[in-house]
């Protein structure tokens, strides 16, 4: 199987986010960046499919050269190749923009693929748009937020999370699948993997090489502002024995807050 996996560089989920009001962006200094956790499930699933069925795993990211480090990590996990599509625009919160870039890269450079794997959303922009939009641009079926994936010949079966239930989606390959926690447990890089990754060269593609015009890569989203959430006031600690406090809590929720 020829599998393409799309990954994004995001701040560690333990990070405290600070905002630069001038640039309407988050402040990056002091942040630790990682492969978006949902994308790691996608990389792992690609590696498992390759191990079971043979083939090739290529990892692709769109971003600045700072994203090379997360691509190295994916190589160290066992991906065969990685490529960076260079984009100097920092987060534009525009899923279709990234989707157009990726769809063009797939058409131009990787036409013979069987499966496109994504994380269900980046942990950051939280848009969850790119998998569906790439599927549409390439005319492919999609299964998003998948916790179980089976591939047999050119037929795929994916189980995806919906509210309070699972949806079994049956589709033909090639297809787009986005991964959700529960799909697998991503492996750690091995020392051997890290050494092998060091030797690999990660090609950097430019928009020009992909034939993307300025119009193609213009953002459709206008950022008006980024704010911190309204600070919550710490409320009151209910005193007393556990029994007394519990009784008082039930009373407060019912009579004062009126939420039960």
């Amino acid at each position: 199987m020829n599998i393409l996996v799309f990954v994004k560089r995001v701040p560690d989920t333990e990070s405290k986010i600070r905002i630069d009001r001038e640039t309407r962006a988050i402040m990056e200094d002091g942040l630790n960046f990682i492969v978006s956790p949902n994308d790691e499930y996608a990389v792992e699933e690609a590696l498992r499919l390759k191990e079971a069925k043979g083939g090739q795993v290529t990892v692709i990211s769109v971003g600045t050269e700072e994203s090379l480090i997360i691509l190295k990590k994916c190589l160290a996990m066992g991906a065969d190749e990685a490529v960076l599509i260079k984009d100097d625009l920092k987060e534009a919160y525009d899923g279709l923009r990234i989707s157009k870039i990726l769809a063009r890269a797939v058409e131009k450079k990787y036409p013979g693929f069987d499966l496109l794997l994504f994380g269900k959303q980046s942990v950051g922009a939280d848009n969850a748009q790119v998998p569906s939009a790439v599927a549409e641009l390439l005319g492919l079926p999609q299964a998003n937020v998948v916790t179980k994936l089976e591939v047999e010949g050119n037929q795929g079966t994916a189980y995806r999370e919906i509210e309070g239930a699972m949806e079994k989606v049956v589709f033909s390959l090639p297809a787009v699948v986005s991964a959700q926690k529960g799909l697998n447990e991503p492996r750690y890089e091995t020392l051997k993997g890290i050494m092998a990754a060091k030797k690999k060269v990660i090609p950097i593609l430019s928009f020009e090489e992909l034939g993307l015009s300025q119009e193609d890569t213009a953002a459709r989203v206008e950022v008006i502002g980024i704010e911190m959430p309204p600070a919550r006031q710490a409320g009151r600690i209910i005193p007393g024995t556990p029994e007394e406090a519990a009784r008082e809590l039930a009373r407060l929720l019912h009579s004062e807050a009126k939420v039960i």
């Binding site: 988050i26 549409e136 641009l137 919906i162 509210e163 309070g164 959430p229 919550r232 406090a245 809590l249």
Partner: protein, 325 residues
């Protein structure tokens, strides 16, 4: 005109779609836009005619035998045809599993942007502005969409319903075209594990447990408590999920789900930054934890410093009394 997509699951209209319709109506009134609603399926006869009372002046029923099972490809094609005809200025969806799957696909077909998982919609200078959480709620982004129609998915449980907007309107049934071979994948089956468990994103009340629950068997306590409270469900922190005490679909936080219930009850949850991001927009927060320094108390409206294994049984007793009064 504004359009609202009305999602049906097993013949029932989703409440969160009616919330999206209600918000379309409110903003439509501000901007002088009529609001229409659209349902998609093989047969949309199951329709609850009350849709009109949430603000739709016209309800479009988009039908084709090929749309019996949900597929993003088929549904996007159907809505695309309606959008081409009506030229709406905006299309609203609920940010449900289906809405989040479908809206970006339709947007790519139309070549337009989407505001995902919005928690606020406002009109400023005659334009729609969408506010949505980023980094799971560690920050909020306000944006405008430069392309038309603007698509938006609205987070369930955030936008109030409006009712009594009129009991009738125009119902338009349309056979939409779905080309041969267009649909290359669709839903074959919906699998429910046990009964009709509410998803954490849809519940009004979340009874959530963390590392302080000490083991999987103790989540039964939370399930019992949840069973006493209408429209409630059980949630969990990442450490409880990663320890295998409860399924990951219940996880609240940055690598789980972001939730906005009316009431979030946190038992034995310390309040790691990535958890707080996912639940801080709850309307009311209660924390029960042994450690008085736990960060969860900084966001809680009511806190009890104590042993949850003593607090929960007493709370259940007290709640029983209060609810029966």
């Amino acid at each position: 005109m504004f359009l609202a997509f009305i999602e049906t699951r097993e013949g029932k209209v989703k409440k969160s779609s009616l919330e999206a319709l209600s918000e379309a109506k409110r903003r439509g009134d501000e901007l002088g836009q009529e609001v229409a609603a659209a349902l998609v399926g093989a047969s949309t006869d199951c329709l609850n005619p009350d849709i009109f009372s949430y603000g739709a002046s016209t309800v479009y029923l988009l039908e084709n035998a090929r749309l019996e099972a949900y597929s993003a490809q088929g549904y996007a094609a159907a809505l695309h045809q309606l959008a081409a005809e009506l030229q709406p200025k905006a299309i609203f969806f609920a940010a449900t599993a289906m809405g989040k799957d479908l809206a970006p696909r339709l947007a790519a077909r139309l070549g337009v942007g989407v505001a995902s998982d919005c928690t606020r919609v406002e009109v400023r200078d005659g334009r729609l502005e969408f506010t949505r959480p980023i980094y799971a709620g560690k920050a909020f982004l306000t944006l405008r969409l430069k392309s038309s129609p603007g698509l938006a998915t609205l987070r369930p449980n955030v936008f109030p319903l409006i009712e009594g907007q009129g009991k009738s309107g125009q119902m338009v049934r349309k056979e939409v075209a779905v080309a041969d071979g267009l649909i290359k994948g669709s839903v074959a089956e919906i699998l429910r594990e046990k009964g009709e468990e509410l998803d954490v994103t849809e519940a009004d009340v979340i009874v959530s447990g963390g590392r302080g629950m000490k083991g999987p068997e103790n989540f039964a306590l939370l399930k019992e408590l949840s069973a006493m409270i209408p429209r409630s469900t059980v949630g969990a922190s990442r450490s409880a999920v990663d320890s295998g005490w409860i399924g990951h679909q219940s996880q609240v936080g940055q690598t789980g789900k972001t939730v906005s219930p009316s009431l979030y009850l946190a038992f034995g949850i310390s309040g790691a930054i990535q958890h707080l991001a996912g639940m801080s927009s709850s309307k009311f927060i209660v924390a029960v934890n042994k450690d008085p320094e736990a960060p969860i108390f900084k966001v809680a409206d009511y806190g009890i410093v104590g042993d949850l294994f003593q607090v929960i049984p007493a709370f259940k007793e007290a709640l029983k009394k209060v609810l029966s009064e």
